[in-house]
Amino acid sequence: MRNRWNIKVEVLGIALAILWLLPFYLMFVNSFKSKKEIFLDTTSPPEAWSFDNYITAFQELDFLRTLFNSLLITVVSVVLIVLFSAMAAYALSRAKSKMSTFLFFLFVSAMLIPFQSVMIPLVTVFGQFDMLNRGGLIFMYIGFGASLSIFLYHGALNNVPKSLDEAAKIDGANRWQVFWHIIFPILKPITVTVAILNIIWIWNDYLLPSLVINTTGSETIPLKMFFFFGEYTKQWHLALAGLTLAIIPVIIFYFFAQRSIIKGVSDGAVK
């Protein structure tokens, strides 16, 4: 009885999983077809697996440079968010005072502000100071990413006993050394969570880069994809090859880090 129930659940689960993958299947098989073949049939595999669409899409997307831009912006932003947020959370958790409570409250309440509410003044102010470029973008990511990251680090730091700090201090270490040599390494699990949440967000972000980056050659993948799609909107075979290319780096990342990713996302939401 119990067994038969489990088999039914399993069959249902597998059927749903196939349904979930269907959009990716459709994107993939049609990305190899010619324009005419898509017009005739969208559901079966292509007659021939031709890479012509991919060659065109690869060149038009300037794929290697676009990929490099995305990697550069994501990696630099995430590294800085991790380091600066951990430092800030450490200060807030170790100096219990009205000031710390106020600052922590400030960071948490900043999470309530939707991007659209600050978007217009942000862009005009940064524009006036000539900061609408990749450097400015990274700085903005630190500002927008700090709140959640500090919140997560703060929660984790409350479980790290202060006696550790004291012991290291007696041995003659200063604050800076205590933090980087003793505390930061202990925080590794939450660092993974913070890094993953910020990687997913920054890698996929479209709106902020679209407002900040306006020189050809600096575009990230979502930004370039938007222009590319606009140009090839009636040519689905090329658009789909471009979309598949854009997804490949994410699939590789997921393949190697799926356990940490799912754990990180779950921890980030639940805590």
């Binding site: 659940v9 399993e10 993958l21 459709l26 049609n30 947020s85 479209y206 854009a246 639940v270």
Partner: protein
């Protein structure tokens, strides 16, 4: 470490600088500009509440607000229902559990912009060709009406976010004490009874988190809206985030758009606070 120590401020300096210049200053400036005739370059004259008063007769803004509300309510219900169902499936004793989790979660890693383009292809091309093959009129011309645009967005978001919400429910379901459920089983509680009286109350905190996340995500939606329907046909599937964007950067009505942005902030903040408050109270009662 004490508040008056220099090291305290050095540890905090980078994030305070970034948060200050990126969030606090624009927020304060934005609030100020929303009471002026700001055009992006000059502050212009002080107009009091005029921008806010104009909002109430701005049909396009009110329509987008109504569309966003309908979309959010339907999506929140569907995403949570599907997410919880998927979580119950993958936490039962089945062999493919981890493979299924990986699959359901996958769409969350890919950006909304790209997912919207993929689904545009499905709704426009695949639906049309399948509709022709099985002779179903209702599969033709998707995204060309307000209704199909609405459901297109709902389907896209449910497909994308259900796996995310599933992960949250899994965290709570796997944290349930097994002895409690087994004890209920021995006492003769049926499956629906066990669900209603034991599992449901214990996973109540998961509802707080999930409802909050889905509501704020769907209410603030922009990327998927842009790539799937771009607000069409005739701006009828335009959500608030996109409406604010267009008021600012297409019509160049900066101060007016900023007033909309402030109202948007107030709605999002109130929803978040009310939801957390209600759910916290319910958890305690249970």
């Amino acid at each position: 470490m004490r508040t008056k120590d220099l090291s305290y401020w050095l540890f905090l300096a980078p994030v305070l600088l970034a948060l200050g210049l990126v969030v606090v200053v624009p927020m304060v400036l934005g609030l100020f500009y929303s009471f002026t005739a700001w055009n992006g370059i000059q502050t212009g004259e002080f107009v009091g509440f005029q921008n806010y008063i104009n909002l109430f007769t701005d049909e396009r803004f009110l329509d987008s607000l109504w569309f966003t509300t309908k979309f959010s309510v339907v999506s929140v219900i569907l995403i949570n229902f599907i997410g919880l169902s998927l979580a119950l499936i993958v936490t039962s004793k089945i062999k493919t559990s981890s493979l299924l989790r990986t699959t359901f979660f996958m769409p969350n890693l890919i950006g909304g912009l790209i997912l919207g383009f993929i689904w545009q292809f499905i709704f426009l091309k695949v639906f049309a060709s399948v509709g022709e093959a099985v002779d179903m009129e209702s599969l033709q011309a998707w995204l060309s009406t307000t209704e199909t645009g609405f459901w297109g967005l709902v389907i896209l978001m449910s497909w994308q976010m259900a796996g995310y919400i599933m992960v949250i429910y899994i965290a709570y379901l796997e944290g349930l004490p097994k002895e409690l459920i087994e004890a209920a089983e021995i006492d003769g509680a049926s499956t629906p009874q066990r669900f209603r009286y034991i599992i449901f109350p214990l996973v109540a905190p998961a509802f707080t988190v999930s409802m909050f996340l889905t509501l704020s995500n769907t209410f603030k939606l922009y990327d998927q809206n842009l790539s799937l329907t771009a607000g069409g046909p005739y701006n009828s599937t335009e959500m608030v985030a996109m409406e604010i964007f267009k008021t600012a950067f297409v019509q160049n009505a900066f101060a007016y758009a900023q007033a909309k942005a402030i109202i948007f902030f107030l709605i999002v903040a109130v929803i978040s606070l009310v939801q957390v408050y209600i759910n916290k109270r319910r958890e305690v009662e249970m």
